[in-house]
Symmetry: C2
Subunit: 398 residues, 2 copies
Amino acid sequence: MREVGIVGVGHTKFGKTVVPFIDMCCEAALEAMDDAGAKTGRCNHIDQVFVGTMGAGMVQRVSGTASAIVDTLNIRPAMAETVENGPASGGSAIKLGYMAIASGVADCVLVIGGEAMREVTGWEGTDFVATMLHPEAEYPYGLTLPAFAGLFTRLRMDTYGMDSKDLSIVSVKNHANACKNPCAHIQRPVSLERITNPAYIAATNPLVADPLRQFDMCPVSDGAAALLLVAKDKQDEFGFGHKPFIRIAGVGSATDTHVVANRAIPTDLLAVRLSAQKAYKMAGITAEDVDVAELHDAFQILEIAESEETGLFPVGTGHLAAREGRTALTGDMPINTSGGLKAKGHPLGATGVSQVAELVRQLRGEAGERQVPNAKVGLSINFGGFGNNVTATVLKAE
Amino acid sequence: MREVGIVGVGHTKFGKTVVPFIDMCCEAALEAMDDAGAKTGRCNHIDQVFVGTMGAGMVQRVSGTASAIVDTLNIRPAMAETVENGPASGGSAIKLGYMAIASGVADCVLVIGGEAMREVTGWEGTDFVATMLHPEAEYPYGLTLPAFAGLFTRLRMDTYGMDSKDLSIVSVKNHANACKNPCAHIQRPVSLERITNPAYIAATNPLVADPLRQFDMCPVSDGAAALLLVAKDKQDEFGFGHKPFIRIAGVGSATDTHVVANRAIPTDLLAVRLSAQKAYKMAGITAEDVDVAELHDAFQILEIAESEETGLFPVGTGHLAAREGRTALTGDMPINTSGGLKAKGHPLGATGVSQVAELVRQLRGEAGERQVPNAKVGLSINFGGFGNNVTATVLKAE
């Protein structure tokens, strides 16, 4: 099978912006082309574009987003499709980019993830996100994602002996990392004292969905990220000279029951486990080989649970690893060096692409102040629905 | 590269239905599984599902449609993505299905196309369809698809000496074919006299967007279609024994300017030409090898124009071929044996999948009264935007 690598990354500053959705996606794409060495602003080797987004139709009221982007970028007649898999749309777009090249249909693929969340504020935002719930068995009953995460957190607290402080520890770590990431939405340190002290917690970290408080979940952000993928056998011909070659060594995804209440063991995230196993198998690695990981901490509990389901830590011990500082930048298994969804931000469709962009920077040794020494293997988990549809990506520096 | 074939087809009766969107998609999927020989109603070989739909988000207000379908079909943990490329979403989903298998990531892919148009009636339907126009340069100015098609038709009439009757000839042919297709929306013959006689044309065939009348464009339909794709090297192991093997010999797609006014030659459909050329090249054929074609006649002018851009007839002569009956069931180059979008119906995301389902039936010799004798090579063109993003598929019976 053809080897596929990532030769360019682009990333807007996550946060609030007035840039229109399509232009925001193009901004990230142009940066990815520049990064790959196509300094003219146009890379005429691109023969396929995949755009991962959840709200292009529902929020922007635009269809054919991918071909609009191709036209704006002036890379016609490149093939183009929009991909939707809830908040895992970006991870799905990367998987499709791999397939397009490995199948021989394309040689050079531009993968973009983007979301303009500013269009849906307050309850409209919560409602938009809730459209990923089951349309008949969940959504009509008023369930929301924070409500699900609250139930899930309480259950894991009871099962594994965690407490609220464990969530805050993850939050503090990710805020610290985001301070070192110029693209992060919230580049502001948070002290454990500030968000856990019972004397003023009601003001500094108010309850959202018991037991979850504001700092136990991600903010609402706009943003886009992009990757330029190329077949290894075309890299020299196209003049993409980056060293090392960052290879997409493994891609995997898996679905779980769309109705969360149907799960046999509700503390499990089966789709995380299966997608990671699939990606590891394809890459010929085990969890022990992972040097750096970007996990989908839309809620802090998810970083802990995913660190277990991916095999980075034994089941029920993810929070202990975080307590011990093992997942910090200076730990033995750094997680969410980018700041994670918590502090870097979570523009839904952008997130999966943003995660892999961070891994590329880490594996190239270009992560600056947040660099993990000698990172050679990276893992990302992009989480759709409440674990309904999860993608895993493994990168190797070669 | 791995060879990929189609071993199962499913197709709902196009028209109006009260079946919920996801259930409608599952109905087509179950039929495709049955057709492939998985009579239990569950095919546990499926490892990837692609759902082509334009309105799942915008109309149904559902995200994660693909994983909801996986769950309903009880084929977890199959991978799942929703694909959007306007009315060419179905063709795009087939292309991705090919990529998934050819890349080795999947062995057996379920491709579904579906749309529930009943949710958007009247002006809401026109507006929904118009979201495929450029969000800044076209949509805000009130342009609609029928308006574009009217301008395009007038220009081609002036350029190539066509008249309104040429559109009606195509319409009459497609209505005749649909009478032989039990899945068609409008199974009713239409006489040329009835829709062209000036004495009563205002009543029987009213003007919609000059020069286009009601019978020069497709109806609004609900519907879904599905295909089961398998790697040839897994066909026997999985027990899919259909003969002949219907191979996806070529897939191609291409984009054109998203803003139609930017095209150098506005009578051309460049993306149709390029996508067909790409698919022919991959299949190792020329237009002369095509035995039967399904072209995207959302407007009757498009069947004529596409029959030229795909090389089936020389430029400027498509309407002459239709006049001579060459594109009828009994002609030497039958087009839209299914009834086409005109009479079979056009549930946007379903159309590309439905077209290929028809070709499979033709190539298997299972098309009943509408069978084209000895059909071995089939071509489909699925048209997104106003030719902004077009997919082409070539099938071969082997």
